[in-house]
Symmetry: C2
Subunit: 262 residues, 2 copies
């Protein structure tokens, strides 16, 4: 089932996507709900980021083929694959939806990169769950773009702005609840040309392992998002670009890129 | 004016503290409000963390006399005073109020320390404000305890659990709106004995400078919290302790310490 969050005439709701329509949900998507409300054309609503999370998590390095590239970004001369997830927090205000602009701040190095990823959406509060249990606490999966400014990522003590600047977390277009999270294909297209292609089966730590690991010390909440981590090598975005993250079986997250005026 | 957030008979509201009473606020504390609602004894309500923030920020190292200690914690052999704030995000779920337990996870190194701090509460959305303007976007100040697990702080890539584990962010007892933020005394008592004593006039970066710096890339939202950073040397908390952070002119944030059962 595909569940979108949308705005229509100033009203915000969740709905079930059926073909080119969305049927409004009555109730809470994380507890009891029915798709019994108004039916609208998708083209007539504005899709939003699929939840209003308390926290957005990244796993640290999670693809072996991103190791060398990430080490170069971070200036790490002796990179190694981590023995467990190394969670970090993507600033809450960076979240945006499909169709929204990714804004390149006017004062960056010019190296603001896409990272096409899959995103797990937490469905129930969870604390100290095992990797075996963790899947039961995940509501579904979406597409995400972990937009990253490479100079800040290297020079700052944390990723607060490198990965947390406003609009640096597009997620959408909706949540797919019935899909195998470790058998997803993640494709990024820049102006229609494929520039990144990864597979969640290559994640060093599965979504269930990452969720379990975070939950040992922090209670994850319904709506919280957990990014998969990125794969391979990326390039910089520029004013006027269109970046799409497609996960077959889920959908396409599409964002224009706009340079902020100084 | 002192503004508390409280729960009474399952109802959550803000109120103005007057002596040993709290007068319920009608309206939004960040826009128009009147203290015209029910008057209750403070002893009869449960005080909560004073806002429901989207984000909780720390400034990075912000007191010169914490430099050597922090360098030892982090294994930094060549510590230096930062040239600008180095913001980091304290996990949202770590927030708790006065009177609530700080829970020591059963699987720590045993080195979970208090850090008594002042906390700025954002009052209006702000983006790219100058240090001169930033004060106008701050609603008031509260007491905070930046609870920190020292082994995780040293070994992990980020502070996600070292400073973000559940209950590691007590803030309260309320917000004081009329006070000079750079002339505060921050006192920590452990079981009644003073163990930390700092002054916000010694902050390397003022609250206004930190807020301005973060706002260059991230829109701060009403209710967001910005910790001052900590001063000097700290020691470990243990099961059964009572830790208090007092800022004269604001109030006392008081939290019992409890070891989690394995």
């Amino acid at each position: 089932m595909k569940i979108a969050r949308f705005q229509s005439n100033g009203h915000i709701a969740h709905g079930v996507v059926e073909g080119d329509e969305v049927v409004e949900i009555e109730g809470d998507i994380f507890s009891d709900f029915k798709a019994s409300g108004e039916r609208r054309k998708l083209a007539d609503v504005k899709l939003l980021a699929p939840t209003d999370p308390k926290e957005i998590w990244g796993p640290g390095l999670n693809f072996a083929n991103h190791l060398e590239f990430a080490a170069g970004v971070l200036g790490d001369e002796d990179p190694h694959v981590p023995e467990h997830p190394e969670p970090w927090i993507k600033a809450r205000n960076s979240l945006t939806g499909t169709g929204e602009n990714i804004i390149l701040p006017h004062d960056t190095s010019g190296e603001v990169h896409y990272e096409g990823e899959a995103v797990a959406i937490i469905g129930k509060p969870c604390r100290r769950v095992s990797p075996q249990e963790a899947g039961g606490y995940i509501f579904g999966y979406s597409c995400g773009n972990d937009v990253s400014e490479r100079a800040w990522q290297k020079d700052d003590w944390t990723f607060w702005r490198a990965k947390g600047a406003d609009t640096f977390a597009p997620v959408g277009p909706w949540i797919e609840t019935d899909i195998n999270p470790q058998a997803l294909e993640m494709i990024v297209r820049l102006n229609g040309e494929e520039v990144q292609h990864g597979y969640t089966e290559e994640m060093l730590f599965t979504f269930a392992e990452i969720v379990s690991y975070i939950s040992q010390q922090i209670t994850l909440q319904p709506g919280d998002m957990v990014f998969s981590g990125s794969t391979g090598v990326t390039v910089a975005l520029k004013d006027g670009d269109l970046v799409e993250v497609e996960i077959p079986g889920i959908g396409v997250l599409s964002n224009p890129v706009v340079l902020e005026k100084a």
